[in-house]
Symmetry: C2
Subunit: 398 residues, 2 copies
């Protein structure tokens, strides 16, 4: 592996960045040199933590010649402007999912990157996770025959994490379909080869105190009769982590007895403003924000995951888990996975290989647009009760 490092600027030091922090700081291939955010407290902390340069605008940060790429982790609805700007200034881009909230925005972002000759990677999303990639390889090798059926379930407390008001508004990219559906469609598309044919879905919205798309189930059809059911419930009751050995989404052991913790935290506050303050306090630079992880962070750390996944092929089923892959062929076998060396290495490998080796990323703009198309189809089908045909699907290049 080359010793050349990727020099990165961060656009947006909010929740996405906080979750990405261990991946950014523990990865030896990355230099974090600059950041921009609207919150001065976040920039101050950034300068302190990273000895990096704080910019008050994306435009000024993109003028920093040292930077190879920008990690855009601003709220969904700003992705279009920020990607267009950064691409226009010649920076390669890693943009958080969902890539955008309309197909036209995705198309504009793809064009902006292509015209500027820069690479666009959409991530992190959970199809990057090593157990998913291994599952894809098993499918491609037809070790257990051809893929036929996927069942994906995730029951989380998504809706009770602190939120800004617009995070409940579907038209602004809020709700679980955009934020969480984008993971599930990303996973099943990767496993099924990428090209979905149609989507049929239903959406649930049932907490009057937090009106939003809070749950869904969708049936996705692929070529050759392959189908997937993806179901998601963000209301913080039943927890599907019991189906993945009580390992949390971020790959660390979870206490089954700590039931309802997100909802209980929220109950202590009673208005939107207080909730924003809570969210801000947890955001990078806030009073209760995460600290910079040490190498100790990886102790007892498994791969990230996005719920329970049962993958059925003609001669056996595959059940990827955070620490292993269970293979139900003629015999049952278990492939224990070597634990991750640092989190989300797969994302930065893809970005690195694009920037320095010219390898087109799997999770490029077209891939992200196809994911968004599926999310939009879930919303549309739930509204009109019809099977929605897909038009922007692309094959997985993995």
């Amino acid at each position: 592996m080359s010793t050349k490092k990727l020099n990165l600027g961060i656009a947006g030091l909010g929740r996405g960045f906080s979750v990405m922090l261990p991946a950014l700081t523990l990865n030896p291939m990355i230099n974090i040199l600059a950041a921009t955010d609207l919150r001065r407290s976040a920039l101050d902390r950034f300068e302190n933590d990273f000895d990096g340069k704080a910019y008050t605008s994306l435009q000024s940060m993109c003028s920093d010649d040292r930077l190879d790429a920008i990690y855009i982790a601003t709220p969904h609805q700003f992705h279009i402007d920020h990607v267009t700007l950064a691409a226009g200034m010649g920076k390669h881009i890693l943009v958080e999912k969902p890539m955008a909230i309309t197909i036209d925005e995705c198309t504009a972002m793809i064009k902006a990157a292509r015209n500027a000759g820069v690479y666009l990677v959409v991530g992190h999303s959970h199809s990057f996770d090593t157990p998913i990639k291994k599952t894809q390889q098993i499918i491609e090798a037809e070790t257990l025959g051809k893929l036929k059926m996927i069942t994906a379930l995730n029951y989380t407390d998504f809706l009770y994490r602190p939120r800004r008001p617009e995070e409940f508004v579907t038209a602004m990219g809020g709700g679980v379909v955009f934020s969480q559906g984008s993971h599930q469609v990303d996973i099943v598309r990767l496993l099924a080869g990428g090209r979905g044919e149609s989507v049929y879905a239903a959406i649930g919205d049932w907490d009057e105190n937090r009106p939003a798309d809070g749950a869904y189930t969708a049936l996705i059809k692929f070529a050759d009769g392959v189908f997937a059911n993806i179901s998601y419930n963000g209301y913080g009751r039943f927890d599907t982590d019991q189906f993945t050995g009580w390992i949390s989404e971020s790959g660390i052991a979870k206490d089954p007895d700590n039931y309802g913790v997100a909802r209980r935290s929220l109950e202590k506050i009673n208005n939107d403003n207080a909730e924003i303050l809570l969210k801000d306090s947890r955001a990078y630079g806030g009073e209760s924000s995460v600290s910079i992880p040490t190498s100790n962070y990886m102790k007892n750390r498994y791969y990230e995951h996005f719920g329970s996944l049962i993958v059925s092929c003609t001669r056996g089923d595959i059940n990827p888990l955070p620490d292993r892959i269970d293979l139900y062929g003629d015999q049952k076998k278990t492939e224990i996975l070597k634990p991750p060396t640092f989190p989300r290495a797969e994302v930065f490998e893809e970005l690195y290989d694009a920037v320095f080796k010219g390898i087109e990323p799997l999770h490029n703009g077209e891939w992200g647009r196809a994911n968004l198309e599926m999310c939009l189809a879930i919303i549309k089908s739930a509204e009109n009760g019809k099977e929605i045909k897909l038009k922007y699907q692309v094959p997985a290049k993995g």
Copy 2:
């Protein structure tokens, strides 16, 4: 409880009867007085086991004035003729699910029973199971608010149990949609109040050695935005009993290490005829058939179940299990269930109450027809890619 017993005649001593045997013999409310079957070996054993009367035709058995009711456990495609005959001869009827394989047949059976003034109960099916009934009561009482979403998963080895050739042919009532879908739709209909509005589905058929409907996923919509996903896979790989504490469908502990047992048994035989012989040898009266259970049968016995079921209401989720019900409300609570005194007591209670107390059964002909309508809609939707509207749905009277 009355001490009057229900005098029962059995039509068909095959697999359905074998599975029902413990329920029939351990239940003190039932007298088994007569049986009919095409196999002389089965009749011989019946006479020996029950000191009962063996008939060579259903017609002659129905002339037996002692009998209050007939349990019809013949293959699906014969239900229409056998129900019509028994009803016409004034016998109350318990008929196995699926009630029939066309709507017209169901309608004819409903009319035959009504014209004859006899009750028609369709069962056993898994909505009879006590944990399901308890869940329905929790929903009705709105203990955790209003029902919104149901996820039902069942991965079994259905396709590798010994079969007659017609059990693979959908048009003859074969495949998992008729045999197993009838359980899942029965359960979600009971929980959601009975009246489905539409069905959208996909079906998988991927073992070339056993071509049949072997797996499906379906999205069912009910009134008020309630929706259910039911997914089933009968290819004997991943086993959802790991989500129900390794308790088998029949309510007894299962050895997780005994992976693939059904497929391995089948591998020893290599043609249709040998498979029929194997099936016959296991059928009542055959060499390897089940013995009459003793009271010891109920030791360490839990309730029957039909896979994993997550029921989401506005204020919490319900997860019925063979030994308990987990309630995920503001707190997590567990309701431990008193173990069953004898198996499938609920079925015979419903039949008994109809015959002796004139109480219209919940699982009557109209209920069974509505279940069949959903199964047929799964098959039709999988063929034409459309949402199928339902017309024969009826409310749950529970």
